[in-house]
Each structure stands twice: as structure tokens, then as C-alpha cells.
């Protein structure tokens, strides 16, 4: 039984944790929240320098050539710091999409830049909440047209993986966002520490990623993979929110004693702890399936995501509640996690959708058994 990260993986985790703890304090997230920056470029550069953006990418393309487990520990620390960087979009979606489905030429062109943090990647699927069946964006030949909104980190990104329809069915297309026929508009969202955009493609140059008509299947694979990484990001955030609440409950007095001595607070925080531990255990299994390419990945990914979504949402909202009035002020930090938890809950599809997906995978597994 070796159901834990290895000593080397833990070392990497500590290294990333130390860097983010020193450099990406919540004041940095606040800077991005309140300011004009699309993301904290300094933190992004620092992560790139650590190699954290390419831990799971083969060395041939400039990566560290490690595996998914190493990426999981990085994700957890990014989540803990509530780091205002395009981690999920660029690393867990765009970079992974290239690794999974890219041609040799595509990999050679983009991966080194993504890993170095020179180019940010993103994924553009949504069209204002409509389902893929109602999608209006089309890929005709090598020209892409349509509007995607919201695109997380869409303003900062230099390259996008875009879901498009057209002859042959839903297809993933790669688009150099520096090319012509592309307009972007910033949009207001609940978590402006990772700013989002509306991107309109008007005959923009694009090439197929993977296989024409395989878009839905490819997206499902990428989402399963990103769900595991996202779960670690959520768990990191949830722990940060829990311990922020814990520290406040030790400091704050009401009626002559620490509020952390009241059972209403104690049991609330114990419940957060329980949810986080369940999420962590589910996420570990997800990581194992991700790393080993196990057939159980769809089920394990759904369990990790559902569990971690629950944990982060609960921990972040009850962190505000534990803080009382101060927790609801703009100047205090709890709302940073409240917002981020929402972003991570919605970005790959909400919990209801994933719970349903979990049961579908479970039915499939039990039918096979």
C-alpha cells in the first residue's frame, strides 16, 4: 500500500508552496482583483522558472518529464494560494490538450512557449451557456468563425483550443490568438482574479487538434483529466479557507471567550475538515487513475470533482460566516476564496452535471463487473 505522494513529489510540493507563500500572498490576488491586470504576470513567470508549468510535459518539449501526480501537487498549491494566474486554462487544459492530442508539429510549436510561460493557453467552448448541440461557431476548412463567451483567461491567452462545429461535427481547433480576424472584449465575472473575455472569430486561421468530429469525445477526456487537477486546486483553496477561519476563530472574542470555543463554530469547521478529507481521499484515487491511465478515470475524476467542489464551496462560504461582519467587507480576504470557489465549481461544468456523470460511470463499471 503506497497510497500517498512520494518523497520527491512532496519535495516539489513544498518548493511550489514556499514560492507561492512568499510571492503570491493574497495581496497579489487582490491587486489583480481590483486592478486592470488579466493575471499576475510576475507569479506566472516565477512558476515557469520553477518548471511548474511543464512538470507533466515530456522533456523533448522543454518539460520536466514527470507525471500527472507531480502536476496534482502543483495544482493544490496554486489553489491554496488562490493564485491569480491562468493555471487551469493554460496548464490543465490547453497544455494537456496538446500533450494528449497534438500533432508533432503542434507540440513542437506551442509546448515550449507554454511551459516557459511566454504564451498563455486557454480553452474556448462556451457560447453563453448554450449546449454543444446549439453551438454556432464553425470551422470551415482552416477558417474559424463564431463567438465564444466566457473564455477564462481569454484576454491573456496567446493560443486557444476552440470547440467548433461544421462539416464532420464538433471538432477541437487550435487558434493563434495573435492572428487576424480575432476581437476580444473583457467581461465582468465573479472572480476577476482570473479575468475572462468574449472572443469573436471572424474567419480566423485555425487548425484541427486531434481528429475532425472527435471534439465531444476529446473534450470529455480533457475535462476528466482537468477535473482531477481541479480537485487538487479546490482542496488547496478549501484548506486555506478553513485555516483562515480557524485562525480568526482563535483570535476573535465574543462574550468573553474565543468564538472558536463555541460549538456552532467548532462543528462548522469540523464539517469543513471532514469534507476536505473526503475530497482529498477521492482526489488521491483520481490522481492514481490519471497517472496510471486507469479505466476507472471517468468515475474517479467525477468523484474527486464532486467531493472537492463540495468542500471548497462549504469551506469558503463558512469562512465568511465565521468572520462575521468583517468577513463581508471588500477589504477582508475571505471573499477571494468565495469567488475562486465559484470559478472552479463552474469552469468545467457544475456539480449536478458531474454527479450525474459519476453515476453513469458507476453504472458502466458495475455492468462490466
Amino acid at each position: 500500500m503506497e497510497f500517498d505522494f512520494s518523497a520527491d513529489q512532496k519535495l516539489l510540493k513544498e518548493q511550489v508552496q514556499r514560492f507561492l507563500h512568499d510571492k503570491s500572498k493574497l495581496s497579489v490576488a487582490r491587486r489583480v482583483l481590483e486592478g486592470d491586470e488579466t493575471h499576475a504576470a510576475d507569479i506566472w513567470r516565477g512558476l515557469a522558472d520553477l518548471g511548474a508549468l511543464g512538470v507533466a510535459v515530456p522533456e523533448a518539449y522543454g518539460g520536466m518529464g514527470l507525471g500527472a501526480l507531480e502536476l496534482c501537487v502543483v495544482a493544490e498549491e496554486v489553489g491554496r494560494a488562490c493564485a491569480p494566474v491562468p493555471f487551469q486554462s493554460s496548464v490543465c487544459l490547453a497544455t494537456d490538450a496538446l500533450v494528449q492530442f497534438g500533432s508533432e508539429a503542434q507540440k513542437t510549436r506551442w509546448l515550449p512557449k507554454l511551459i516557459a510561460g511566454e504564451t498563455i493557453g486557454t480553452m474556448a467552448v462556451s457560447e453563453g451557456g448554450k449546449g454543444i448541440a446549439q453551438m454556432a461557431t464553425t470551422l470551415a476548412g482552416d477558417r474559424l468563425s463564431g463567438t465564444k463567451v466566457p473564455v477564462i483567461d481569454g484576454e491573456a491567452a496567446g493560443v486557444a483550443i476552440v470547440m467548433a462545429g461544421g462539416a464532420g461535427g464538433a471538432t477541437l481547433a487550435m487558434v493563434d490568438l495573435g492572428g487576424r480576424g480575432i476581437t476580444r472584449k473583457r467581461i465582468d465575472t465573479l472572480d476577476p482574479t482570473r479575468k475572462q473575455a468574449e472572443i469573436t472569430f471572424d474567419g480566423a486561421a485555425a487548425e484541427i487538434l486531434g481528429e475532425r468530429g472527435a471534439g465531444v469525445r476529446q473534450l470529455r477526456t480533457l475535462h476528466d483529466r482537468a477535473a482531477v487537477l481541479g480537485a487538487f486546486e479546490q482542496i488547496g483553496g478549501a484548506e486555506a479557507a478553513l485555516y483562515m477561519a480557524r485562525d480568526f476563530a482563535l483570535e476573535r472574542y465574543a462574550f468573553g471567550r474565543q468564538i472558536g470555543s463555541y460549538q456552532a463554530i467548532k462543528h462548522k469547521l469540523a464539517d469543513a475538515y471532514i469534507k476536505i478529507e473526503l475530497a482529498r481521499s477521492n482526489a488521491y484515487y483520481g490522481a492514481m487513475m490519471l497517472a496510471s491511465g486507469g479505466a476507472d478515470l471517468p468515475l474517479a475524476a467525477a468523484a474527486a470533482r464532486v467531493s472537492a467542489t463540495d468542500a471548497y464551496e462549504y469551506a469558503s462560504k463558512e469562512n465568511i460566516q465565521t468572520h462575521g461582519g468583517i468577513g463581508f467587507t471588500w477589504a477582508a480576504d475571505p471573499h477571494l476564496h468565495y469567488r475562486r470557489s465559484r470559478l472552479l465549481s463552474l469552469s468545467l461544468g457544475g456539480a449536478t452535471l458531474w454527479r450525474n456523470r459519476l453515476v453513469t460511470a458507476l453504472e458502466k463499471r458495475n455492468a462490466a463487473a
Partner: protein, 411 residues
């Protein structure tokens, strides 16, 4: 069992409606009334004009006795007026705290001269009042305040900081709770004053909330001089006076308006796609919607039960204590699920489906669960006052305030 007005109530309702028809515009159905108290001078001006009109027509203080300028009406009339007014576009209620909490306290604990001088201008809308109780270190535990007043002859000199003061930036007077003696138990060293908000040394700063609004303020007191004649009640009996105010606060909890509810969620779930079909077809969404429904309807009919008691001239039971604790959590859950139903577009705060209203409600709910009594304090109140369970163990009863402060800073 019926929802009908009595004959008297029907007459009053017609009268109220006629006044409103003559003086205000009917609200377009479906548009949420704005309950935010703006920082805009124009809004204050229009609110004052509206208040003056209401006073003229006898709707400014429906339940107050006639001798203090009220109508001498019943609580149910107050509610009927509020129901009717909710159908019209009217300025935000900048007088609610003053007339609902401060002036009743002044009438009860102040002198005759106080009443003569202050009640009329407040009723007319010429002077607006705020309440200065909470402090950064004293939220749920109001009696833990630190703001000090030291006597100097016939005056008191106040230093300290208040927080969560609604409307402090446009108010004329404030009800001010201060500590006058730190060397007795904490409830015993308090005294109540009122203060002219334009006094030298009073500084008001807005507090920006997570939801973006800023109707609350911090108020700083630096060597503010207050004449002893502005004291309400005896020295050291401020807690008793404060309880009058706080009791009135609890009565003032009115009809929650402008909140997105079940019908809004249902409309959204019909139009939104979830996993390839309309969200409303998903059994999980239906299940949650049913839960929202029983909570929203349960609260509505709980209010009707309370109004029935009022209509009969009875004192309502403790049921209304459940209102805030249920609606706060429901606002948060409904906001959260609505975003899920919107898919990726759920993250969009400004535009997108519903113009960000669900998103704003979700942000606001986090504060609603805290302001005016946290979920936890409210459950305690229900357990103690309704079910008769014992109070929490109090370790601060037999200790002086100074000792408590020393113990706290030692840790």
C-alpha cells in the same frame, strides 16, 4: 381561513392605495425595487420630500400614538400600507432606522424636551438618525464595545470607533452607546447618548462590501464633545436603553422584497440547458426547486400567520424569528444553483442570463446571513427564547471589562 381584509382593513387599504396612486408611480411588474441606500444627495432629497408627504397623509408613523405625531393605528395597518407601497416606485427607506429604532428609544428614555425638539423633525424627514452601537471588536457581543466617554464637567469627551452604521454619511443625529466605566462588569459600564453627526471630531468612512455596495460606514470619534443633556437614561444604564433599540430592530424586520425567488429560478431552469436538455427536466434540479419552494412559501405563510395575529389584536408568536435564518441560506443556495444551471455563463456577473442578478444575490446572501444577527445567534435565540433551553455558559458576567480586556490581550 381566508386571506381577506376585515371591513376596517379594507377601508384602510383603499385609503392607502388612493394616497399612493395620487402621489407615486406604479411599479412595472417584475422589476425589483431598489433597496440600496444610495450615497447620492438627490436620492436623500427625494426621500425627504416623500416622507413629508406621507406625514401629511398620516402614513409616516402609523402605529405611533397621536400625541407624538402618529396615526394611532394598528400594526396590521402598518403592514397593509407596506404591502401597498411595495407596488409603487418610492425612494429608499432612509428613515427606517431613525423612526423604527432611534426615535422610539428617545421617546422612552429621553426627557420631554428631547421629544419636543426631535420627534417632529424626524417624522417630517427633516432630520435623519442613525444607530452607533457595533464596533470592530464587538459584533454579536454588542456589550463588548470599547468606545470611551470621559466626563468633563457638564460634557463628555468621546474617543473610539463604530462600525456598520447604515447611512451615517447622510445622517443628522446618531444614537451612541459608549463605555463610561471600564471597572465594572461589561454590561454595567455603558451609557447612551445621542450625538450631532456634524460635531467636530466625527469622521465617517464608507465600508465597501463584497457585493460592491457601500451603505454601511465606519464612524471615528476623536475627542468629540457631547453635552450631558444629550444623555438618554442614567449613567451606567446604557445597556437597558440599548435593549429598547435592539428590540425595535427585531420588530422592524419587514417584508423581504427584491429577492429573486422560486419563480425566477423556475423561469431560468426552463430556458437553460443542462447536459443536453432543459434544466427543469432534470430530477435533481426539480428536487432542489421543490425545497426552495417549501422554504419560500413556508416563510410567506408564516408571515400571514403573524399578520393574522396582529389583525386580531394578538401578539404574534415566535414564528417570525425563523425568517432571516431560512431566507439567508436559501438566497445563497438558490443563487449558487442558478449559476450552475446557467453553465459556464454562470460566472458572468455583469451581463449574461438575468443580468447578473442571481450572482449579486449569491454575493449578498453571504452578508445577509451575518447582518443584524448571524445564523448562529439567531439559532441561539430560537433555542433560548422559543424552546426555553439554557443560555450559553457566560464567562464574562462576573468580571470587569478591564479584566476581560487584559485577559484577551494576554493570550
Amino acid at each position: 381561513m381566508n386571506f381577506n381584509d376585515t371591513a376596517d382593513e379594507a377601508t384602510f387599504r383603499l385609503e392607502a392605495r388612493a394616497f399612493l396612486e395620487a402621489n407615486a408611480k406604479r411599479r412595472v411588474p417584475g422589476s425589483a425595487p431598489s433597496r440600496t441606500i444610495d450615497r447620492d444627495d438627490e436620492v436623500i432629497k427625494s426621500a425627504k420630500a416623500w416622507q413629508s408627504k406621507k406625514l401629511g397623509a398620516g402614513f409616516a408613523a402609523i402605529t405611533w400614538p397621536k400625541h407624538v405625531g402618529g396615526r394611532g393605528g394598528t400594526p396590521i395597518q402598518q403592514i397593509i400600507y407596506a404591502q401597498e407601497e411595495a407596488q409603487f416606485v418610492t425612494p429608499p427607506g432612509v428613515f427606517d432606522i431613525g423612526l423604527g429604532m432611534c426615535i422610539p428609544t428617545l421617546i422612552k428614555h429621553g426627557t420631554k424636551e428631547h421629544a419636543v425638539r426631535f420627534v417632529k423633525p424626524a417624522l417630517k424627514g427633516d432630520e435623519i438618525w442613525c444607530q452607533l452601537f457595533s464596533e470592530p471588536v464587538a459584533g454579536s457581543d454588542v456589550a463588548g464595545i470599547r468606545t470611551r466617554a470621559k466626563r468633563e464637567g457638564d460634557t463628555w469627551v468621546v474617543n473610539g470607533q463604530k462600525v456598520w452604521t447604515t447611512g451615517a454619511h447622510f445622517c443628522d443625529f446618531g444614537l451612541l452607546l459608549v463605555r463610561t466605566d471600564p471597572d465594572v462588569a461589561k454590561h454595567k459600564g455603558l451609557t447612551m447618548f445621542f450625538v450631532d453627526m456634524k460635531s467636530k471630531g466625527v469622521e465617517t468612512r464608507p465600508i465597501k462590501q463584497v457585493s460592491g455596495g457601500a451603505e454601511f460606514n465606519e464612524v471615528f470619534f476623536t475627542d468629540v464633545v457631547i453635552p450631558d443633556s444629550q444623555r438618554l437614561g442614567k449613567i451606567g444604564e446604557g445597556w437597558t436603553v440599548a435593549l429598547t433599540t435592539l428590540m425595535n430592530e427585531r420588530l422592524a424586520v419587514g417584508i423581504a422584497t427584491g429577492i429573486l425567488g422560486v419563480d425566477d429560478f423556475l423561469a431560468l431552469a426552463r430556458s437553460a440547458d443542462l447536459d443536453g436538455e432543459a434544466a427543469i427536466k432534470n430530477g435533481a434540479i426539480r428536487d432542489r426547486l421543490a425545497q426552495f419552494f417549501i422554504e419560500a412559501e413556508g416563510l410567506k405563510y408564516t408571515r400571514y400567520r403573524m399578520w393574522t395575529a396582529l389583525s386580531r389584536g394578538e401578539t404574534p408568536g415566535p414564528q417570525s424569528s425563523i425568517n432571516k435564518v431560512v431566507s439567508g441560506r436559501m438566497m445563497q443556495d438558490l443563487g449558487s444553483l442558478s449559476m450552475e444551471v446557467m453553465g459556464d455563463a454562470g460566472m458572468i456577473a455583469g451581463e449574461g442570463p438575468g443580468q447578473g442578478a442571481f450572482q449579486r444575490q449569491w454575493l449578498g446572501a453571504a452578508g445577509f446571513r451575518i447582518a443584524g444577527g448571524t445564523d448562529e445567534i439567531l439559532r441561539n435565540i430560537i433555542a433560548e427564547r422559543v424552546l426555553g433551553l439554557p443560555p450559553d455558559v457566560r464567562v464574562d458576567k462576573d468580571t470587569t471589562f478591564s479584566e476581560l480586556e487584559a485577559a484577551r490581550s494576554k493570550r
